[in-house]
Amino acid sequence: MSTAVSQTWYMTQRQLMVFVRQPAYLLITLIQPVVWLFLFGSLFKKVVELGGFGTTSYLDYLVPGVVVMSALSSNMWAGMTTLDEIQRGTLDRFLTTPVSRAALMNGNVVNNGVVTALQSVVIVLLGLLGGADYPGGLGGVAVLVVASVLLGTVFGALSNALGMLVRERESIIGINTFLLLPLTFLSSAFMAPSQMPGWMRHIADFNPLDWAMVAGRSAMSEHPDWGDVFGRGGGLLALAVVSVWLSIRTFRSYQRSV
């Protein structure tokens, strides 16, 4: 293994351990999606009767929505961890060692990706348990997981950049609470596009959250539209690359400001 790769692994391992060693945190991350599934599942149960959902069971439609929403809500707090590490002096400690600077950033991205993938799979399994049907099979589920990991990477990287830039928890909390619900409801998370008001549908077209849902739902349907899948997926990938690049830039400017 090359040095940068093994160092990335050490950094990832370190962060995954934090996740595993804090059972309360782990539990909440897993319980919250369950709450969403059952809350929204019961509340909107009859909404499928309006048509346009491509299924007769609302749960089938809801699972990808909750997967993507959870990917967003767990990754948008990444900046808090980074902020903690800055304030605790951990980041500076690493920066005075010969560790590859890329490994420091990659560790964040890989860790967030692993956690998001895990969370997504658990939600899909919970849905299955609740009677959801995934006609697209394993391949479809894999696309949904990849799409939510990419979306998580976008928001995780942006959140990290914000943390390094503003260096205060309040800003991250403020922006996150401001964004989470509008981003979720301005997408096809809970409602079929054909049932949304026209202006909302247009906004949703530019919402990366919606891209992840469209890609995932299409791949999980009986007759996937691969154009949709690759189009939206490609968009997410491009956005993820740009966000990571941006967070690396902010990281450099953090180093200059020390």
């Binding site: 050490y10 351990m17 934090v18 500076d92 400690r93 005075t96 010969p98 200059r256 020390v258």
Partner: protein
């Protein structure tokens, strides 16, 4: 080890200004001979931490040059990083990981692995009396244990040069004494070069072979603790006046006091006058007489051997405790600006 006796640390005319026109360094010169301990002594905000950040490759100077262990900090930061160990002010140990895990990760970052890594980690845990707590999460550690772990983290790869930034801040007196013993041992037995920053006069006096007094971003004087104190010949007589005297009065009084036999110097600092005299106790009656003739009321007078505080007053032009309080106030005013 190395055949050259070049200084382990050599910094020349370092300057650094932070956004918001906060001048941290204004021509900082530091030289530390290989295998010695230098104490950078000064109040908070004097520029000690900024100097350490530059020498440990965390920050870049606006101008000036520095080499550490023979490597230029700007051109070869990677080589510098391999040669140095850093114990920063903030602990930086991962609170969720155990002491052992923290040490193992740190060792891996320097390329240690396998049996060599395990051996080194065990040695350090033993040596810093952390063996019993090795498998406990760091968040359960006491302040003293955390600090010992921090020092162990800085030593994992057997560095040539160790930076200790305020190593005993926040420790209770007992833990502080234990840490002092440990640092003295490091410097003595292992021939490590140590740059120590502190705002405790006592700490610098006790640990450092040479002391550089830092004020407002540069070194105002450097020497051995005894040499610095010895430069202030005789005793120090501290006289507390009933009220402060004005600028004109000071010049007049200073002239009158130093005209007395055996009196060398009179420094004013608010209501306090510090007088250097060959024989402190013998000079007191004459001093009090002179002050009385000048019509200045005296609240108290004490005689003492010169301390580093007197050295500080002499070279920085203000008393140490006052400079410390002033910088704390400046920091509060500056708010978020660092």
């Amino acid at each position: 080890m190395s055949t050259t006796r070049a200084p382990a640390i050599e910094a020349r005319r370092l300057t650094k200004t932070y956004p918001g026109d906060v001048t941290a360094l204004s021509g900082m010169d530091v030289t530390v001979a290989t295998g010695t301990v230098l104490g950078l002594l000064g109040p908070n905000g004097a520029g000690k931490s900024t100097t350490v950040k530059i020498l440990t490759t965390l920050a870049r100077p606006d101008s000036g040059s520095a080499t550490v262990a023979g490597h230029d900090v700007r051109r070869h930061p990677d080589r510098v990083r391999r040669a140095i160990g850093v114990v920063a002010q903030n602990s930086g140990a991962d609170p969720v990981a155990t002491g052992r895990e923290n040490l193992r990760l740190q060792g891996r970052l320097y390329g240690l692995k396998g049996a060599a890594l395990s051996r080194r980690v065990d040695d350090l845990l033993d040596r810093f009396t952390l063996a019993d707590a090795a498998n406990r999460q760091v968040k359960t550690y006491s302040g003293g244990m955390r600090r010992r772990l921090d020092v162990a983290l800085g030593l994992v790869h057997r560095p040539e040069v160790l930076f200790l930034d305020e190593p005993t801040t926040g420790l209770d007196p007992q833990a502080r004494t234990a840490m002092w013993d440990e640092i003295a041992r490091l410097a003595g037995d292992e021939g490590l070069t140590v740059l120590l920053t502190t705002h405790h006069l006592e700490e610098a006096d006790r640990l450092a072979e040479r002391i550089a007094i830092v004020d407002r971003g540069r070194v105002v004087v450097e020497g051995t603790p005894d040499g610095l104190k010895g430069e202030l010949r005789g005793d120090a007589v501290h006289v507390e006046l009933r009220e402060a005297v004005g600028e004109a009065g000071r010049t007049l009084l200073s002239g009158a006091l130093t005209a007395l036999p055996g009196v060398h110097e009179a420094l004013f600092d608010g209501r306090r006058v510090s007088v250097r005299a060959d024989d402190g106790a013998g000079a007191v009656p004459a001093l009090l007489g002179a002050l009385e003739r000048a019509g200045v009321g005296v609240a108290s007078a004490t005689v003492a051997r010169p301390s580093l505080d007197d050295v500080y007053l002499r070279y920085a032009g203000r008393r140490y405790s006052e400079a410390d309080a002033q910088s704390a106030q400046d920091l509060a005013v500056a708010g978020g600006v660092r």
